[in-house]
Amino acid sequence: MFDAAPDTTAPTPLLPGESPPSALLRARGLRFDAGGKRLIDGIDIDIRPGTRTAIVGANGAGKSLLLRLLHGLIRPTAGEVLWEGRPLDREGRRNQAMVFQRPVLLRRSVLGNLRFALAVRGLAGPERKAREAEAMERSRLGDLANRPARVLSGGEQQRLAVVRALACAPRVLFLDEPTASLDPGSTHAIERLVAEAHESGVAIVLVTHDIGQARRLGDDLVFLHGGRVVETGRAADVLDAPRSEAARAWLQGRLYLDAPCRLDA
């Protein structure tokens, strides 16, 4: 569930007597400035265990940047990211994994890519072999295990990137437009892997441009505009009845122009 400015926050409905689980990942007052512009502006976010969150918005809204800030790949100009209540450090990041829009695969075989990630996590011997086998089966890339990873099709490469991330047993999986420019079959395969990961308890944070995908994979939805959260809530609610003009315009495919927030403004 996400907290933005009070007038734009839609709380996640809880059952009677249910108390919200504590956040795995919490961002408070997140700000990021670059090139004289405020690209992320005062974002507060809670990611709770096992939740699925879609982050949507127009190009340049700051979606991918927000994902990198949450994953600790970039230091915020101000604000903080907490993992289980403590500042996010290398140890906290070991509980997370990220899949990028363009899969970054090593110049090795399919299996070699998996092995590298598992070795980095300190896995060896039978446990590593078991994880490798599970990932190969899950990805349905078993027949291609010894093929150079970078000669696979775009969909296969992204599938490998997803199972490589999941093989590290993350508690939060960040996905940055994982199916951009993939065909429907490949998109379905990626979404299936993400759904399976969620069923096994992994919290999903997905950046997407695809409204359908946001519905399919998002329970909660965050709409970003100009580096700010302008609307949050249950994905179906926001997508069916957006309250902000920016979200309405985006969903209707209209151009919505306003000046980016400048530091000197």
Binding site: H71, L73, A97, V104, P148
Partner: protein
């Protein structure tokens, strides 16, 4: 004086006759050069990879120094190595002057900056692509360097080749520290210089032909290997 074609004919005659002196000189040349290149790679590749992958204070200066050292004049390297290895020098007690070991040291000094500077550029390009993924996976510094060197192996082969080319064709440094002693430190380049000055052009040209053939063969093999790597998208 004989014509060029007569000398060339006699040179090929020497090569085809598998002249023992010729073989000895070629063997020593390859031993010295390959050893120097191997040592340079052991030092220069990780050094270049570290400079390419890590950000640290003085990095820009380190890159400038590495690049500048690529142009070290061989005679200056030979002179420095000579001063270090001569009886009065710090390494004098080792008694390495005028031995193949001295030539290896001189060539290593010459080639290591080339390997380090070129590998820095190669690794930096790879690292630009991998950095976020490494950060995401939590790859430690040593693992990063090892992974980058492994993934860039086919590109780094070209770097090693550049070092080999520099070392095998080098004459200034090895003649100073090796002394061009017959059956001890005589290599192809120093022999070519000596035999040319003596007017023994057949042997000089025969060695020149062999030197060219080695360069072509090594580059051809590396290119073939690289082409297969390109097919597998490993470059």
């Amino acid at each position: 004086m004989e014509s060029f074609w007569e000398i060339l004919g006699e040179a090929f005659g020497l090569i085809l006759a598998w002249d023992s002196d010729l073989i000895e000189i070629i063997g020593l040349s390859l031993r010295v050069t390959l050893t120097a290149v191997a040592i340079s790679c052991v030092i220069g590749l990780p050094l270049g990879a570290a400079v390419g992958a890590f950000r640290f204070p003085g990095r820009a200066a380190a890159i400038v120094v590495l690049n500048a050292l690529m142009g070290l004049p061989p005679v200056v390297v030979g002179l420095i190595a000579y001063l270090m290895l001569s009886a009065a020098g710090p390494l004098g007690p080792l008694g390495l002057l005028y031995t193949p070991a001295a030539m290896i040291i001189a060539q290593t000094i010459l080639v290591t900056p080339i390997v380090a500077a070129l590998s820095r550029q190669v690794v930096e390009d790879y690292y630009r692509e991998y950095a976020e993924q490494f950060d995401s996976l939590g790859v430690g510094p040593l693992d990063r360097v090892a992974a980058l060197l492994w993934d860039a192996r086919y590109s780094l082969l070209t770097v090693a080749l550049a070092g080999f080319g520099r070392a095998v064709a080098e004459v200034g440094a090895v003649i100073i520290v090796g002394g061009n002693i017959n059956h001890v430190t005589r290599v192809m380049t120093t022999t070519i210089a000596l035999e040319t000055s003596k007017g023994n052009l057949e042997l000089a040209l025969a060695l020149g032909v062999v030197l060219l053939a080695i360069a072509v063969a090594v580059n051809g093999a590396a290119m073939t290997l690289r082409a297969s790597a390109v097919r597998m998208a490993y470059v």
